[in-house]
Subunit: 303 residues, 2 copies
């Protein structure tokens, strides 16, 4: 199964008439994850027809406004829409106080269970896991405490090769055992190895989200070989000094991380609004890492 | 001088793709006042080309999200845009903590002086005054502490009638005294009364903003005879029970207040998003108060 990514916003700093700060929706193994939630995210969810009632987990990288100021509005709107299913929010320590204070001041309370998972570790840690998906933090270097997130599908089971099983005249009542990975002993005593009766499972996908961050090679082992890396590229190399000062990355630096981590595809975003066109970001990244894509508001990707 | 009003948003509850919750800009005597600041207000300011650097006073009626969740974003954007001039925010107690906590969590501070004027009184009080304009609170009845605001121009000076002055052969060096309201003694000893040498001053205008509120006749003496009343009309009479329960008003109730207060014009808004068309609000109000207007996002009014 593929990853489906919807970019709701991918520009830095202030929302503008036609561009939005950071938020994206990752659909992975029946989960709909929201990653960051800038002001206007709830409208972007509506505009791009995301079934946002299905979001049960929201991951917030850091508490700068262009990544989180839409969260209280979404939490409130879920309440007004009579949401029932629980909502989990993962983000830096302080996020709970930020949301609860605003609910308290409006004398509001949610109609659903709201769980906060506050993060403080500077080491990578698993923050969500079920039988199909695992989410780890990717500690980043920014002006305030920030985590990226690595979303990993778990290895699925091998798929039954019904034609192969039939060729050995194996009774269908054994098919479930085959699907569970067991070898089969035929009536004549021969043992048929499971790999002869099954197809390879679909390779699990991995999506790494790294925003906001200065150039930081510490992330390379964590994201090595992943299918898609979203790496912020707030600036071009012409603004390298500004990137250093504000602890952001250039497109070339993002591409360098992608190359060193040997990822399959690189997705750029978090563009400073100073640039008239975003094509220059791809132009700068491509010589270092060819398989580069430009995120843009409303764009969707299948990986 | 006329009042210039820009409706940035006039729908209740959640922002949607094509409608916005409450925010409006009142231009009165060289002031640009922002009234309420729902999520998305900063984008609406850009979309409708309001020179929002000129806003120095923001009036927040109450701390429900659809009136205030855009404030932190605007305060932050002013910072990113290197604002210098001071900003004054008037609103219920708690608004300072709400904004400062979010700035603190993002390790941010404003580049400009930020003053909070927290309101707690249940009596009408003057909260802003200079030589041209006065702003008073209008205590409202809602589920949480809420104030409307009455914006009043002060009486201006009479205007010099140059033709009349010339007809009396008055030397121009006396014109300033005439403009200041003084009578003039001619060389022959005759005293010319100031009102013969001047035009009536432009009548001062008054704009009353009442949102959100249940039907509340207590506001009538405060807003009596004002030029324009913006009164919330979240519901139609068919949802009267819901209006009572949620402490909102119907269009008919808004019109009743307008009629009792003998205002010149009524502006409806804060429509529930349950209605497909807003024309029904005017239809319901008009039999009670004929001079009714419908606010709508992006609409501007000159009064």
């Amino acid at each position: 199964m593929s990853l489906h990514l919807t970019i709701l916003g991918c520009y830095a700093a202030t929302p503008r008439t036609f561009t939005n700060p950071t938020s994206q929706v990752l659909e992975i193994k029946n989960h709909v994850f929201l990653i960051d939630c800038a002001e206007g995210t709830q409208v972007q969810l509506r505009r791009h027809k995301v079934k946002f009632s299905r979001i049960e987990h929201i991951f917030i990288s850091h508490l700068h406004g262009d990544h989180v100021y839409g969260l209280i509005g979404l939490v409130s709107s879920y309440m007004l829409l009579h949401r029932v299913n629980p909502l989990h929010i993962y983000g830096p320590k302080g996020i709970k106080e930020m949301i609860l204070l605003q609910l308290k001041l409006s004398a509001s309370w949610t109609t659903y269970e709201l769980y906060f998972h506050e993060l403080t570790s500077s080491e990578s840690e698993i923050i969500f896991e079920d039988d199909k998906v695992r989410v780890r933090t990717i500690p980043l270097k920014h002006r305030i405490y920030t985590n990226g997130f690595l979303f990993e599908e778990k290895q699925g089971l091998r798929k039954l090769n019904a034609a192969a099983a039939e060729s050995y005249h194996i009774d269908k009542c054994y098919y479930r055992n085959i699907a569970l990975g067991k070898d089969i002993t035929l009536d004549d005593g021969r043992v048929i190895s499971n790999d002869l009766l099954t197809f390879e499972p679909i390779p699990p996908k991995r999506y790494a989200y790294c925003s906001d961050t200065a150039y930081n090679e510490d992330v390379v082992p964590l994201i090595h070989g992943c299918d898609v890396l979203y790496h912020e590229s707030t600036f071009l190399e012409s603004e390298l000094a500004l990137a250093d000062k504000t602890m952001h990355s250039t497109a070339r630096q993002a591409a360098t991380i992608a190359a060193k981590a040997n990822v399959k595809e690189l997705l750029l975003g978090h563009y400073s609004t100073r640039y008239d066109s975003i094509e220059a970001f791809a132009d700068e990244a491509r010589p270092v890492f060819p398989n580069v894509h430009l995120s843009d508001d409303g764009k969707t990707f299948e990986f």
